[in-house]
């Protein structure tokens, strides 16, 4: 409940691949905005109230620089909303509501892992496709908290945005469906949860289910960041509810990060 809403300016827009963009906007905690953390997201709207789509679009925080207030999103062009986001130019304004949701508590995770009685005192961060978007700030925050994670990133084809991860990760494992780079196959082919104290994941549901299944075999705790259609992003409409083992939960407010066992276990 610390989301605020305002109009803000586009600082930069970059096209990484035909359908992948990186958008940086100004987000000033000084003006009442709260500092966004890993796994949180914003509701973005860059089109007039009377133009489609009706709803704002949820996009995860990819990166945030508290010093400059530069807030970066990494997103894939899917339909009407993201197409209009991609048309934004520096100087244009858009409306932002956030930071929304319960992200990853990197400090707590790092402390838990560091305090474990036995090794592995390591964290794996596993992303699939555009699911890598929220993982950059996660890796940064984990590294800052003392546990540089290993990144596992799976792509369909040519990878993107990986260079940013170099400084804040221990190892980077890459897999592609097409075999164009890294391991030829699914990222779950190179992930060994037994070697990690925690696995944190974001990506397509089918991938996250696969990651969770591996983790469950090894009893490795796994957190997953979910998606869902959202109207408010604030826990107010109950449009994004997912039915978990512990009852109905709003992805936007009680998530998007959940204990994978609570959402994926049969």
């Amino acid at each position: 409940m610390n989301a605020t809403s305002c109009n803000t300016a586009v600082l930069a827009q970059q096209r990484l691949q035909p359908d992948i963009c990186r958008l940086t906007v100004a987000w000033a905690p000084s003006a009442g905005g709260h500092i966004p953390h890993a796994g949180q997201f914003f509701m973005l709207r860059a089109w007039p109230a009377d133009q489609p789509p009706l709803l704002a679009r949820p996009i995860s925080v990819h990166d945030f620089d508290p010093a400059t207030g530069a807030l970066t999103f990494l997103y894939q062009i899917k339909g009407q909303g993201t197409t209009q986001l991609a048309a934004l130019q520096p100087g244009d304004t858009l409306s932002l509501t956030g930071p929304c949701g319960n992200g990853f508590d990197a400090a707590a995770l790092a402390a838990e892992v560091a305090g474990d009685a036995l090794p592995p005192r390591k964290i794996a961060v596993v992303g699939g496709g555009i699911g890598v978007a929220p993982l950059l700030l996660l890796c940064r925050e984990l590294a800052a908290a003392g546990v540089k994670p290993d990144l596992f990133a799976g792509y369909r084809d040519t990878p993107y945005a990986l260079e940013s991860f170099v400084g804040c990760c221990n190892q980077i494992y890459l897999a592609t469906d097409s075999g164009v780079a890294g391991y030829h196959g699914l990222i779950t082919g190179v992930l060994h949860p037994a070697q990690y104290a925690r696995v944190l994941t974001c990506g397509p549901m089918v991938m996250m289910r696969g990651v969770y299944a591996l983790c469950a075999e090894q009893n490795t705790p796994c957190l997953a960041s979910l998606e869902g259609k959202m109207a408010c992003g604030l826990g107010a409409c109950l449009g994004c509810t997912c039915h978990t083992k512990i009852g109905p939960k709003t992805v936007c407010k009680e998530g998007p990060v959940f204990d994978a066992g609570e959402v994926f276990a049969e």
């Binding site: 409940m1 709207r45 109230a49 009377d50 709803l55 409306s95 604030l234 994004c240 509810t241 009852g247």
Partner: protein
Amino acid sequence: MSDLRVPFLGLEMAGPVVAASGTFGFGPEYQDIEDLRLLGGISGKGLTLAGQPGNRGERLLETPAGLMNSIGLQNPGVQHFIDHELPAMRALGTTVWANLGGHSIEDYCTGAAMLSGTAVDIIELNISCPNVKQGGLAYGVRAADAAEVVEKVRAVSTKPLVVKLSPQAESIADICKAVEGAGADAISLCNTFQACAVDIEKRRPVFDNIFAGLSGPAVRPIALRMVWQAVGAVNIPVVGLGGITTGADALQFIMAGATAVQVGTANFIDPTACVRITKEIAQWMDAHGVANLAEVRGCAR
């Protein structure tokens, strides 16, 4: 400076704009986003006596200038609301409307009696939810059914009673007269419009319940017609809603005779909508030398 206050059922609302049920949580969700003390009130998420998890499957779909929802009255139940959500809601500095759905007349009565013993300001009786088999819509179609539930709830409730009507009512005028006769203190309308969407790739309805409720700007002209009819049918206040997204929209309802308005889907288009609309109304009043909304209420009739 214009005076936005609206006297309503013995209360004084700070402004004519009330956040509509189901679109505003119980209020705290919007606390950091806008100054809720400028609102006329907040109608909380629809409650049922025992609470329920809501619907499975798709819950939201965007349509041209509209939104379909099939939430299915997901809510924590009346007692949980009283114990856990109401205190925070009460602290927001605006009137508290408890929106009450039901599966049976007994449920409605029990819930209303429980809420009567609390700090809620208004009970908004939802006899119009199209999204659950027993969401109250059963009572919102025929005037006689509506009158029956309102009369029974009226008997056990000590709070002002606003009855929220459905656009699926057989006749708006008849149902309005019936609920007025049965003791409603005010009427709010309308709830969402029963609608349908088919996923042509899957070759089946988008929503598990087949039908879902349509709201938003798309329905505004129809909602305004129903409000016009309601105002003409009864002598109790009418709260108008359906697709209001701007101050000008709200003024259309007020000029049609609405005492106040509610704003629902617009909160999703712009989370500051309730306060923005309030301010736009004030600006219009200032620009037109209208000191109090009473001067223009119903003026278009």
